[in-house]
Symmetry: C2
Subunit: 422 residues, 2 copies
């Protein structure tokens, strides 16, 4: 029988009623002829509450001890979910990450899965029992409890699906969350946004890092690497969500599948660099070691003079400024300027690889509505423009409409694809 790995996020297991509903979902899938492995996150705000509790005792809690505490959140929800499954007549047992064979490195707080020892999961499945696995956690080779960091439960689910090779027999991974899929743009910002029935891993990765919070990039990367189809669905509404899978020919009919807006960006620009050799390495190493996440980096050259700019979250701007100032002082050259109140609007689509004119259409559309473009960065399947934050909403709507994203073209494509049905 094909295996589905169903992952329920924090809001999907936030109380007894939702847990019962999740159990019903799982029972439905079993009745439809699937074997199911369940992965669950901690209930609602549990993780944040545990972090607050730890910080009451220790302002900067040791990561090993924090992992010991945080892992309990998922342990409670899997126990409850297994109880709810037994109540609806479904043989089920909960497992901690360690019991489920999730082995990680020893980096507490952001451990990486090194392997999954599938024996116990496979034995349970073969005797018709549903394993309910605590997401977000594992154990290191010396038996320490680790957590995987942000997006951890999604990663657990996709990793289990990969390890069990569910795709080989027509299985996949389902991510139940509080949104009903991936949209052409954030529906809270763009009225005409429509849900995408299907998207490629690459597109989803770009959208995830561009601020579309549906799924964490890490789990998508895992899915891409091991070819696990990922179905994103709303836990309360039974309609189809979005299937994330390898690109297929139909996907390339569209140059652009979605657009996104990332707000609250600041920019650091450095001019008058005569001798750029080594500056980039030195500068971005210093930023990384201060845990500053750099959004985009742009470099241009004019004669012997180089100009480098990068964007960061507003929250990191003042730290970034200090680090750059110190680096320039050490090098005794360069001139720094800081801009605040910026945003980034991006379009994404694997079809861009073969469709020409995407960039020009985007720039023209923004120009027509008077949105000034401060910087441009591109990847093979993405074009991003740095603009004033004040123009963000207008820019997103303009781009969304310029590529006809709200016109149901995607809905047509959807009808041609074969989304899994339960």
């Amino acid at each position: 029988m094909p295996v589905i790995v169903q992952k329920f996020g924090g809001t999907s297991v936030a109380d007894a009623a939702r847990i019962r509903r999740a159990a019903q979902r799982i029972a439905d899938a079993r009745r439809a002829g699937f074997d199911v492995v369940v992965v669950a996150s901690a209930m609602g705000p549990t993780t944040d509450e545990l972090i607050s509790l730890a910080e009451e005792v220790s302002p900067v809690p040791d990561r090993r001890e924090l992992d010991m505490m945080l892992a309990t959140g998922e342990q409670v929800s899997v126990g409850l979910l297994a109880l709810a499954l037994r109540e609806v007549g479904c043989a089920a047992s909960s497992l901690t990450g360690g019991q489920a064979g999730i082995r990680t490195d020893g980096v507490h707080g952001r451990a990486r899965i090194t392997r999954i020892e599938c024996g116990r999961l496979e034995r349970m499945i073969s005797r018709g029992e549903t394993p309910v696995v605590a997401g977000f956690q594992g154990t290191s080779d010396d038996g320490e409890i680790t957590t995987l960091g942000r997006g951890g439960s999604d990663t657990t689910a996709v990793a289990i699906a990969a390890a069990l090779r569910v795709a080989d027999a027509g299985g996949y991974c389902e991510i139940y969350t509080d949104v009903d899929g991936v949209y052409t743009a954030d529906p809270r910002l763009v009225r005409g946004a429509v849900k995408l029935p299907r998207i490629s891993y690459e597109e989803m990765l770009e959208l995830a890092t561009l601020g579309a919070g549906v799924m964490h990039a890490r789990a998508v990367l895992f899915g891409e690497k091991y070819g696990v189809p990922i179905h994103v669905r709303h836990s309360q509404r039974p309609d189809h969500g979005t299937m994330i899978s390898r690109e297929n020919p139909g996907m390339e009919e569209l140059a652009v599948v979605g657009c996104a807006l990332k707000e609250d960006l600041g920019r650091v620009s450095i001019r008058q660099i005569k001798n750029a050799l080594g500056l980039q390495g030195r500068l971005f190493t210093a930023l990384a070691s201060s845990n500053i996440v750099v959004d985009d980096i742009m470099q241009t050259e004019h004669g012997s003079s180089t100009m480098i700019a990068f964007t960061v979250d507003h929250a990191d701007l003042s730290d970034a400024k200090q680090i750059v100032a110190k680096t320039l002082l050490d090098l005794n050259e360069g001139e720094m300027s800081i801009d605040v109140g910026l945003a980034k609007v991006s379009v994404v689509g694997v079809g861009m690889k073969i469709h020409a004119g995407v960039a020009s259409r985007m720039f023209r559309a923004l120009g027509e509505v008077g949105v000034a473009i401060h910087n441009i960065t591109t990847s093979e399947i993405k074009i991003s423009c740095i603009i004033d934050a004040a123009s963000g909403q207008r820019a997103l709507e303009t781009v969304h409409s310029a590529f006809g994203l709200g016109l149901g073209i995607n809905a047509t494509v959807a009808m041609q694809t074969d989304s899994p049905r339960l």
Copy 2:
């Protein structure tokens, strides 16, 4: 260095402030030259909250899944306690029961410790690190998480002290709780009750089962079996508590060390039994398999007619009545009567073994204040009288004063013993 195992109960770790105070306690013991192993219970009402949550999803929760959930309570408190210890400069790491090597049988909800694999604890101690062990839990040989049931954390602490042979090097086990020791009587009931500086395992066992809720009988039994001195202390007050240890010559100077009152008892009496052979076995097997805890059993014989009576908690009385009625019907003999509103007053002391006249002094004292005695049971170190609940308080005060328990005699004995000092 001698090792102390310090156990902190739920009220002693109920919030961040108390956790910091517990950490201070531990740091004090280390500064005083002891190695310390810490055992902690779940914070305050956590366990009850988790049980309620489970019952919301499943009215009679599966015990394995409940253990999965309940074990998280202790896991959170040991994480917090380890953080608090690091804040006061004390090297410490938390351990789940499984990580600490606590191996149990597979009976979920009331597992028994089968052995303790001390390797990790010993390695941590030898490098100067304080292990903070989750009480009340362990893992079975196949890696399942189990809980030990009532009194579990006390049992964990005493079992670790036994396995590490702490007594051999002058160590012991400290139980920090919300009472400051064992009293000659419940100080809420008897104004003149005084704290006992020292008590034997046997006496503590009798008192524990007689309704003195300071320590669970199971942990005391463990202490007795492996010769672990157990020091019961109040977690907020630094004064001496009560040391539970093997009886010593000084202990026998006192015929009676304490008295206790157990309330809310009902009694089932059976008369007109002509042929008692086999009745007892049959009857009490039926009661046990319905999980009815029988308090005391008394049997008398007159000629060929036998009379059996037993006491149970009021809560179990109606079930007990039905089981007895059915058994008598099957046997076609006997006559049952039920009494409610009873209590049991008891005196306990190892000195009773050599001091004569204890029983008569107790009966005479009760008679003088008009307390009618309905039944009497005795053990080698205990005398119990079943009386009307309405006379309970008066009976307890009378017995307490008849044996001079409030006169500070024990306090004098205390000065002669060498209680450990920190």
